[in-house]
Amino acid sequence: MKHLLSIEDLGADGINEVMRLSDSFVEVSERAIPRVPALRGKTVVSLFYEDSTRTRLSFETAAKRLSADTMTFSVSSSSVNKGESLRDTVETIEAMGIDAVVVRHKSSGVPWRIASWVEASVINAGDGWHQHPTQALLDCYTIRSRKGDLGGLRIAVVGDIMHSRVARSDVEAFAALGAEVLLVAPPTLLPASLDGWPVKVTHSLDEVIGDLDVIYLLRIQRERMTEALLPSLREYRAIYGLTPERLRALRSDALVMHPGPMNRGVEIDAEAAEDPRSVITAQVSNGVAVRMAVLYLLLGSGADLVIGGDQ
């Protein structure tokens, strides 16, 4: 595998392989010195055209724990402000000698364009409303580490499905691993068409909340909303928020998940975020191990090469 652009590229086998590898990297992360020399001499660039805390830091931590060198590109202090095009920027960076580009962009499809321009591996760290594959991988890994297996689980993805690349990647990944996926959202926050999505849809969280293995809350993305899709955030919280009352309706063995950053008091109440069933911080720490697995798979394992004959 050369690039990681979407969950579709991986399929169920690929997702399982990344999760199996992640077990080894969780072990590495738990050591006193959490560093292995696997990617020594490789350079990983993070090219973020959109704000990010956890994804960028998580990728950089992952690269450093594999002994790779990291370069960070932030739009605000670059020649993009002088009008340099995406292609020129990418080719300039590549000319410095890099092995992988971790890219986030507000437009869907940008990672595919970059992959067609460069020799380096491209990892999609979020493109517009489209895909965020490493988030889906770390979500699957977090669920697997608590539940053993995703097969047959009932997983509700709640909130702003329309603007959410996390939802698109998660739905594909959860369904590929055999989970039953339920979308819970107001009609205004669902995509115009759900043709081909392996999901069921409901508009009432209260109807389904008692019967869930996982409740996955999405952030209300005010920065992407160009029109009035919600009457008010208070009303959204009342109908779709994970409030203390709904927390009590949730099964005792259910998991509460959120990709971050949280809008406390909107889609999730502080009490729910701190509940023992919440695995939100585990998602973040697993994220480092899963991204190590992805970087290792793309850059280090040589798994595509067929050279054998030694022991």
């Binding site: 292995v36 020399p37 696997a38 394992s301 022991q311």
Partner: protein, 192 residues
């Protein structure tokens, strides 16, 4: 066993075709017992000795050696661990190197005499990687190497301390160590 599974798996492709049986189950059992006695003799008992198997071929052997040590070692409890060296190999990128299984060393190595256990000693690169990996877990007082088969063709200055059997091989051959015996054969690649 592990060797055959590994080399038989895609993407490397190929099937292990056995040719010569060089050890049977009884030979292996006697070799493990002898190595256990040699370890006790060399270290004047088992105080401060730990056994670590290399994933994956060395792990079942390490477990057998651990059991054998329990019966010859005057009741000293020897810690047992497993080590995966994929991240420490120097031939990453030259061949497929995926972790076989998770490293599991549930004790502090510092000050111990660690006996590394593997099924086959060949180029020595796995052992070199294992020595580097051990450093990340602690500072052993000494490291010794026990292997079931030494097949020659070393590319590094590494030698075993305890050997089940020395077997001269050609470079391209494959040695398959299973629970019930050791076989030499070839990997025959599938036609694409």
């Amino acid at each position: 066993m592990a060797e055959r599974e590994r080399t038989g798996m895609p993407p490397r492709g190929g099937v292990f075709v056995p040719r010569t049986r060089v050890m049977d189950a009884d030979d292996m059992r006697r070799a493990v017992t002898r190595i256990a006695h040699e370890i006790v003799e060399r270290n004047h008992g088992l105080e401060g000795v730990a056994v670590i198997g290399l994933q994956t071929g060395g792990v079942p052997l390490a477990r057998r050696l651990h059991d054998a040590l329990a019966s010859v070692g005057d009741g000293v409890d020897v810690p047992l661990g497993a080590l995966d060296v994929a991240f420490y190999r120097d031939d990453i990128g030259l061949r497929p190197v995926l972790p076989e299984a998770v490293t599991d060393i549930p004790f502090d190595l510092t000050g111990l005499t660690v006996v590394l256990v593997d099924d086959v000693l060949f180029t020595g690169r796995t052992v070199r990687a294992a020595l580097n990996a051990l450093n990340d877990y602690g500072r052993p007082m000494a490291v010794q190497l026990a292997v079931m088969i030494d097949r020659g063709h070393r590319q590094l200055p590494i030698r075993p301390d305890f050997v089940g059997k020395n077997i001269p091989t050609r470079f391209g051959e494959q040695v398959d160590v299973a629970d019930d015996g050791v076989t030499i054969g070839e990997i025959v690649r599938r036609q694409p």
